[in-house]
């Protein structure tokens, strides 16, 4: 029960800053996931439907980049955006923008690799039709993304899970500045290093609840047109 006490006290008195932190976490990770999905979905579909020399290598590299450590991505973005770095003039280091950039990089290969596999079986059955009508690429992408939306939702949620759960990248490029770039995971890491393990766990529980909310919403959205998806004989 002590966990609930901790949460409550965090929510209310001792640290009234939970909501901005939650909001920033969602803002950063949802933006990054959305951005990564906008790039990765069309690329993934094109990769799934094309055959070219070196395709296997591209797929292997994409899936290997799912293993990109957040700290490394954070460092790369840090060096780019640091005052000494090539993009230092924009002054976006240690802002939410920098955090979104880093998480987008992190999430892109995940959504990409999973999208390829999500649309491949569907494309196998639609391909003759696409080919018979010489369907334009845009229509193909739209059709495959929509009709494979079940698996694609999971791909996006895997990316979102990576983003909202990671701490290595956001702490380096965001800096965990109180009131500016502090998110759920950096707070959890901070409380852990302070030895407030129960509080850290309680925050973890809050994070999972939030993730559950996001997942539930997407799972509901993908049920649109479910009767066509599930119709089977």
């Amino acid at each position: 029960m002590s966990i609930f006490t901790e949460i409550l006290s965090f929510f209310s008195g001792s640290a009234p800053d939970l909501w901005p932190i939650v909001a920033l976490s969602l803002h950063v990770s949802l933006s990054a996931t959305l951005l990564a999905a906008l790039l990765a979905l069309p690329c993934g579909v094109l990769l799934a439907i094309s055959r070219f020399w070196g395709r296997g290598a591209v797929l292997t590299i994409a899936s290997a980049f799912m293993a990109l450590p957040p700290v490394v991505v954070g460092l790369l973005v840090y060096l780019m955006l640091s005052r000494a770095g090539p993009l230092g003039n924009f002054g976006i280091l240690f802002t939410p923008t920098a955090m979104i950039i880093a998480q987008t990089v992190l999430v892109f290969p995940i959504i990409l690799s999973l999208t390829v596999d999500a649309v491949t079986p569907l494309h196998r059955s639609y391909k003759p039709l696409f080919s018979a009508y010489d369907a334009p690429k845009g229509l193909i992408i739209k059709s495959l993304v929509w009709d494979a939306r079940f698996a694609i939702t999971t791909a996006i949620l895997a990316g979102f899970g990576r983003a909202i759960a990671e701490v290595g990248a956001v702490i380096i490029v965001g800096g965990n500045i109180n009131g500016l770039t502090r998110v759920m995971t950096t707070t959890i890491a901070l409380e852990t290093s302070k030895g407030n393990l129960e509080l850290a766990l309680a925050l973890g529980a809050v994070l999972i609840l939030i993730a559950l909310g996001v997942n539930a919403i997407l799972h509901l959205i993908r049920r649109i047109g479910l009767r066509f998806e599930e119709a089977e004989r």
């Binding site: 059955s125 003759p128 039709l129 010489d134």
Partner: protein, 231 residues
């Protein structure tokens, strides 16, 4: 050069020559029935004609254009049922979207096609629930919805009951009289007699015969065709 023409077309796969070389030409208005035993290469030939597969050697053209550059003026019915996980209507709509038909034409042509194939009252149902014969009617609806100049069909009546087959043939006869070219595969001799101007007979990957339908069924030239017809 108008119409379809094949010039020494062959198709190889898995290290074997599965079809050809085939050379033939066909008037733009002549309807063609392709016949022959299972595994002879009928489907491969029809796929080659539409540009669904590329010939290993030789070349094809439709009034001078390559098959891939003239797909929108044709429609194709596959031997297997290939339906999207959507409603019956949206399956038809896909063809119009792919060909680029928009606006009121789109709606009109969809509803027309559904009506001709007696699928109007099934329009909002998931296509996956259709029975075998109904699915085959949907394939016809999708094919005729884009008003193609040529209609390529791979055993389009295999799952139809006798009455539905008659309906189907009536639709085809109408299309034919309005100038649509029919090129289709069938095991149904009576059907070929009723609708075909020409018959191509394939055996073991070779087109042994391309003759007017009346001639073919009475006196086929080749031995395999004679055997096939039990003559």
């Amino acid at each position: 050069m108008s119409g379809l023409s094949l010039d020494a077309v062959s198709f190889q796969a898995s290290g074997k020559t599965l079809l050809g070389p085939v050379s033939m030409s066909l008037d733009p208005n002549a309807s063609l029935a392709i016949m022959g035993p299972n595994g002879a290469g009928k489907s491969l030939l029809l796929e080659l004609m539409h540009g669904l597969i590329a010939p290993s050697s030789g070349s094809l053209s439709w009034s001078g254009k390559t098959p891939s550059h003239s797909k929108h003026s044709r429609a194709y019915i596959f031997q297997r049922r290939i339906l999207m996980r959507r409603s019956v209507r949206d399956n038809v709509a896909f063809a119009l979207d792919a060909v680029g038909i928009v606006g009121t034409d789109r709606t009109y042509q969809i509803e027309q096609a559904l009506e001709k194939t007696r699928l109007t009252d099934r329009a909002d149902q998931p296509a996956a629930l259709l029975s075998g014969g109904e699915a085959q009617r949907l394939a016809l609806a999708r094919a005729i919805a884009t008003n193609p100049k040529s209609l390529l069909m791979d055993e389009p009546t295999s799952s139809l009951d006798p009455e539905a087959t008659e309906d189907f043939e009536r639709i085809l006869a109408d299309l034919k009289s309005n100038g649509t070219q029919l090129i289709w595969i069938t095991h149904n001799r009576a059907q070929a007699i009723r609708l075909a101007d020409q018959v191509a007979f394939i055996n073991k990957g070779s087109v042994t015969e391309l003759t007017p339908a009346t001639t073919f069924f009475k006196s086929p030239a080749s031995k395999p065709a004679k055997d096939f017809l039990n003559l």
